[in-house]
Symmetry: C2
Subunit: 237 residues, 2 copies
Amino acid sequence: MNVLIVYAHPEPKSFNGALKDLAVAALTAEGHQVQVSDLYAMNFKAAADRDDFMMPENPDFFKYQLEQGHASRTNSFSQDIKEEQEKLLWADFVIFQFPLWWYSVPAILKGWFDRVFASGFVYGQGIGRYDQGGLKGRKAMVSTTTGSPRQAYTPYGMDGDIHEKILYHIHHGMLYFAGFEPVEPFIAWTPARDEEARNRYLDEYKKRLQNLSAIPSIPYHPTAHYDEHHQLKIEYR
Amino acid sequence: MNVLIVYAHPEPKSFNGALKDLAVAALTAEGHQVQVSDLYAMNFKAAADRDDFMMPENPDFFKYQLEQGHASRTNSFSQDIKEEQEKLLWADFVIFQFPLWWYSVPAILKGWFDRVFASGFVYGQGIGRYDQGGLKGRKAMVSTTTGSPRQAYTPYGMDGDIHEKILYHIHHGMLYFAGFEPVEPFIAWTPARDEEARNRYLDEYKKRLQNLSAIPSIPYHPTAHYDEHHQLKIEYR
């Protein structure tokens, strides 16, 4: 498979860096093709703004989504956005490697979603959403590290259920929205505190990567049942 | 009251810009003191990195959270972070004005949270979390605009419940975590599509701002009931 790793951590020696390095080595050893977008090393621009468009349609009233549609039609995204979109089209499987900061992705990775997941590329302009999104046919996996222990992220934990409450906006709102089939996330709980645990996580992650296509998908609502008001249509029999 | 508006939209003529301008005028007319952090106009740096610290403790192994703690102890955050922290300490009420992008805040605002909500300032270094967070005693309100209609954000809608599934990571994970008492969000649904609706939203928002202290708070779990494993302790009677 073609695997893209989108990696967001400012320190190469971090545990996130180790997970990224391990993934490159393990996937290459399995015969996969691997590309890495190392957002900090690339100094990837996070803020969505006018510089994202080489031929803006309306410089006097800047509407980001409309400019994305125009840039999609005229192939006029800035070079850094084009390159990331090309990597996505190349990929069969995308891994997002990042530390969970403030219940979400670091800003540099949020900027990658804001800018690369463009209208006219992953949705809009005749492209659907969710299972009809522009990146359909591809899988995506979140691989993240937390600052609180596992118990904090349960339904009765202090932070709230990691799947239903915290990662939802990433799995459903970013990945599935764009057409990806999200698979079960790899979560390393508070790896900063325990070297033995870090080694166990590396072993576990390696095993998972050695059988990439076996990772279970996360089930989502099929969008086929939504009506024109974007609301679930329940048919009583 | 002292009101800080943290505003993230690249176009001053946008509806988000209109809501921000209205808030400044309406709150000033009510006798409140108002400051605005216009993140795009400030060219606010989104990516958390080494430049955030004037006297890094360990330049060879960059750990963001540890450097935040060190900078808190030594008052050595970069100037832009210091200024935002001072505004937060000054404020009684903070409004976050932004468009909902990919189920979350735009990257430039996520970067504001990553960088300004520092360890040693809003949590950590002897400061608690949630109702014991560093910003306790202050209220915060999300004011946002959506791209999908209201029906899409219901429990059976295509996007999912806006409160429990989407805004949770902001209300609980960012605002309440830091000690804020979050109040009910102001949500303008798909304002881009309908001028009459925009005018109704402006009227409604103005009325809300004229009675700031009457906006109901969002109830959250009290952290007092959490045990040492960060899990809710239920006492059966």
